[in-house]
């Protein structure tokens, strides 16, 4: 029985065409991912190199003034990209993965962007996650929309109801052939991705695969549901394509627009002005006041006292510190807005499988917004660590030569992914089950 169904399946030109399109685009998307990863890791190598050079030139130029030297010195903090980022590039192409900071006011440096062509960002990436979310559903629709209606229209369905024991089982078999081969194709793509992108067999990779399969099953269930409405092939095609257009193209755009307008992040501008003003104001205000605030933040440095006359690095760095310290309210308001955007996105996405899958994949591959915020926070910690190391040395006026500069190599951000598969996939699984069971219940009278 199956062998005949499989033969029949592959006799259709659509099938061969659909599968070859998937393979070609699949390879293209894996290459895109590979190219992306290669470019990013090449930059990491350069960063390590440049930091070494940079420290060398600067320490030579300003060896007798540590305060001045650290005004110029920049230290790199790197977020290494996992190979999985090649599968789901997410937001990692527009958010920088390397921070390059001096111990001055951090808020003026933390949000500097990388140099990326905005046209490329706007068009978006053709990575595997795009292929799965955007194109696979179309293929599933093309393979399934007429599996019942075609037989009815050609008059073969009556024969089947007479000849086979259960026409429902026959339909299921036909359906399972399609599921099987689409799954195989997806499997091949993941295998290729694994080999080309050097992805280790890890729980994360496993999660991405499961998420993808669940999503494909969701689309099969949509097709199953529509097919069992028993309308004509034309109607099925239109209904399925419109649902695809709504779910994958239109609603995501609408939802994003809603979220963006609901939470505009104007606090970013307020914060950036504030951090500038608060530092610069200190040049014209009472020195003691600035120092008091500084010592309140760092009581351990109180012993360095307050010098009222003239310029001192102690006072200078205290002023810089105030830029960060006194823009805290605005900064927290900004992060609050970003968190609200994230929360709302996650909440709404539950009801829309394409969104849920995109967010989940980015979460797993560490290429989403929340991950970038973690990186920004880690940058703050990294920066604080540097400050605490250098502050006392500057305040004590130690010569630059006493510091072992070779120890200052770029540091890496260690990320933790806490993706909960069941929690994220539950809604899609429920929707899928709902569609299948409704379709079966509605048709129970037709099947024996």
């Amino acid at each position: 029985m199956y062998s005949i169904l499989i033969k029949q399946f592959f006799r259709s030109k659509t099938v061969v065409l659909a599968f070859s399109i998937l393979m070609v685009l699949g390879i293209l998307s894996i290459t895109t991912g590979k190219q992306f990863l290669t470019q990013k890791s090449a930059v990491v190598v350069k960063t390590i190199e440049k930091q070494k050079e940079h420290i060398k030139t600067q320490t030579n130029l300003h060896e007798d003034d540590l305060g001045l030297l650290l005004y110029y010195l920049k230290f790199s903090f790197i977020k290494p990209l996992q190979p999985l980022a090649g599968i789901s590039i997410g937001q990692s192409d527009l958010n920088t993965h390397i921070q390059n900071v001096s111990i001055l006011n951090l808020e003026g440096q933390k949000y500097d962007t990388d140099l990326v062509n905005p046209m490329r960002l706007q068009v978006g990436n053709l990575d595997i996650s795009f292929l799965i979310i955007f194109l696979f559903p179309l293929i599933v629709i093309a393979l399934n929309f007429n599996i019942l209606s075609e037989e009815v229209e050609n008059g073969t369905w009556k024969m089947i109801t007479i000849q086979s024991k259960s026409s429902f089982k026959y339909l299921l078999k036909k359906f399972s052939v399609r599921i099987f081969f689409v799954f195989i194709i997806l499997g091949i793509l993941f295998l290729l991705a694994k080999l080309i992108l050097d992805i280790p067999f890890s729980i994360d990779f496993f999660h991405i695969i499961i998420v993808s399969y669940v999503y494909i099953l969701f689309w099969f269930s949509v097709c199953f549901f529509v097919i069992l409405l028993r309308k004509s092939s034309n109607t099925n095609a239109i209904v399925l394509l419109v649902s695809w257009l709504l779910l994958v193209v239109f609603l995501p755009v609408l939802i994003n627009n809603y979220i963006t307008n609901k939470y505009p992040v104007e606090e970013a501008f307020a914060m950036t002005i504030k951090q500038r003003d608060e530092y610069h104001k200190k040049w014209d205000t009472d020195k003691k006041e600035t120092m008091d605030k500084f010592y309140k933040h760092y009581p351990q440095f109180k012993k360095y006292g307050v010098k009222n006359e003239g310029f001192s690095w102690l006072w200078y760095y205290a002023m810089q510190q105030m830029g960060d310290d006194e823009s805290k309210v605005e900064r927290e308001a900004m992060y609050g807005k970003i968190r609200s955007r994230e929360k709302l996105s996650k909440k709404i996405a539950q009801f829309f499988p394409p969104l849920q899958v995109q967010l989940s994949m980015n979460d797993i591959a560490n290429t989403g917004l929340s991950h970038h915020i973690e990186f920004l926070n880690a940058t703050t910690d990294f920066h604080e660590k540097l400050r605490l190391q250098f502050y006392p040395k500057i305040f004590e006026d130690q010569p630059a030569s006493t510091i072992n500069w070779n120890a200052y190599k770029p540091e890496y951000f260690k990320s933790t992914s806490d993706f909960n598969l069941l929690k994220n996939m539950l809604s899609i699984i429920l929707i899928t089950l709902f569609l299948i069971s409704t379709a079966i219940l509605k048709n129970i009278k037709f099947f024996n």
């Binding site: 440049k50 390397i98 046209m119 068009v123 990436n125 995501p252 994003n256 002005i273 980015n362």
Partner: protein
């Protein structure tokens, strides 16, 4: 060709289309969405405008409120430039979500433009932007395909094509009539969108000048051309296909290929062919060239020592302290001049590599009318790459002038014996902060935009011409039976 016949075929097609179940509903939904997008977009634009203006004022206010200060302190106090949006961005937001909205402009340092909308958004932003152009560029073509795919095939399948032919109607007239009919139906969809465009153009308080009217006019013409091409292609494909099903499949496949796959692939290919420098490499390239030329911060630098010697000679003094102006101000102005030249050179190179990356897409405009309308629409809406580059160049120009303004103040008013910028001794009066010019952003001139997009405009016209020729050629060889 008889005009009468074409008109009556078009009319008949128009009427017949509305027998289709759901079309009126679709039209209604489409326009409801249009209204939502327009109103929503308008509000968002107003809000954005407000935010930008507010913060620009706030930043300026704190600039002006600075007390008497050393001018170099003011040079580092710096200015923010917040990027204003063109009112037509409501119609087509182009790359707006991906371009930085705020840039900090200070002495001898070129900062990046930060806080793009996308950098503050979740991954949902990558599904696309909601605006009128998106409806017209992505959704309406699909609707046209759905309405028109069976325009000829259904007549063939019903055998009515033969009857029409026997009545003395030529194939040319049938194809043209159907195309006109399809265009009329699609007009019901896109005319309200164009009305929305014009209401944006007219309601705007002309803060951006009269160019908005010319822009809207050109956008209107471009979209009319685009939809004419689409309608002709739809009818042609229907005529060439054996069955309605095949026609629909071809059209949908074409949509996927031309509207989604090609644009994405072209940009990926461009990027891998012409990779641009990363920020670290870019900075390093600038620094290397600066230190080759001479570092004004280095007291032993030969280039600046030469400069010093010649300056001393001209003024016939032996020490910089005897010069009639503040020497470190002079030194900084020379340094600024030099780094600005070097930075601008590197920046031009960077923009050039972006342009090369885009050149694949821009070249494909010839083969893909979707890319042509996409580029044209965002250029005319002042939300394209060139507009952004022009913003960046304007900010850099302003930054340079502001720094030199401060350096000049320092040369003029600060004593040559001053050693520090700290305290109330070596200061310039605060009225000079108020008289420093503000940053005024002006959108790229419409003439320049047209020059950049000439290829796209020509392409659309040529496409219409070619489709018409194919239509005529094709009808000559068309076998009715």
């Amino acid at each position: 060709m008889k005009k009468q016949v074409i008109i009556s075929i078009a009319k008949q097609f128009f009427k017949k289309t509305f027998y289709m179940k759901g079309l009126l509903l679709l039209l209604f939904v489409f326009q409801a969405i249009l209204i939502y997008i327009t109103v929503n977009g308008w509000n968002a634009h107003e809000d954005h405008d407000h935010v930008i203006e507010n913060h620009q004022d706030k930043a300026r206010e704190s600039w002006e409120n600075n007390p008497d200060k050393h001018p170099h302190r003011m040079a580092h106090f710096g200015t923010f430039a917040f990027r204003a949006q063109h009112p037509l961005s409501i119609f087509d937001s182009g790359i707006e979500s991906y371009t930085g909205n705020s840039i900090f402009l200070e002495a001898h340092r070129q900062n990046t433009a930060n806080f793009s909308e996308a950098s503050l958004s979740t991954a949902l932003v990558r599904f696309g932007d909601l605006n009128i152009a998106m409806l017209l560029q992505l959704i309406l073509p699909l609707i046209i395909f759905f309405i028109g795919y069976s325009s000829i095939t259904s007549e063939k399948e019903n055998g009515t094509l033969k009857i029409i032919y026997i009545q003395g109607v030529s194939m040319k007239e049938v194809l043209l009539g159907k195309s006109v009919g399809l265009f009329l139906v699609s007009a019901l969809f896109f005319i309200p969108s164009l009305v929305a465009l014009w209401s944006i153009a007219v309601t705007d308080d002309h803060s951006v000048g009269n160019a908005v009217i010319i822009r809207s006019f050109l956008i209107t013409v471009s979209y009319l051309l685009f939809f004419m091409i689409l309608c002709c292609i739809t009818v042609l494909i229907s005529a060439k296909s054996e069955s309605s099903k095949k026609a629909l499949l071809t059209l949908l496949g074409g949509w996927l290929l031309f509207f989604v796959i090609i644009p994405k692939t072209a940009q990926v290919v461009g990027n891998s062919m012409y990779p641009n420098l990363s920020k670290i490499e870019f900075r390093a390239a600038v620094e290397a060239e600066v230190s080759k030329k001479g570092d004004s911060h280095n007291p032993n630098d030969p280039y600046f020592n030469n400069l010093k010697d010649s300056i001393l000679k001209v003024h016939k003094v032996t020490d910089v302290k005897q010069l009639p102006f503040n020497y470190s101000g002079f030194l900084m102005s020379k340094g600024e001049e030099q780094t600005a030249v070097i930075y601008n050179k590197q920046h031009r190179k960077l923009i050039e590599s972006y342009r090369k990356q885009n050149s694949i897409t821009n070249g494909l405009v010839l083969l893909n009318p979707y890319l042509a309308i996409k580029n044209l629409s965002m250029s005319l809406s002042a939300t394209d790459f060139d507009t952004y580059v022009s913003f960046l160049l304007q900010t850099e120009k302003y930054r340079y002038e502001q720094s030199q303004y401060m350096n000049n103040l320092q040369m003029k008013f600060i004593s040559n014996k001053a050693t520090s910028s700290e305290g109330k001794i070596n200061v310039v009066k605060s009225e000079y902060w108020k008289s420093a010019p503000k940053f005024e952003y002006s959108f790229i001139a419409i003439g320049k935009t047209l020059q950049n997009q000439l290829l796209a405009i020509i392409t659309l016209s040529v496409w219409l011409l070619i489709t018409s020729i194919i239509m005529i050629k094709f009808s000559n060889n068309f076998k009715i039976i």
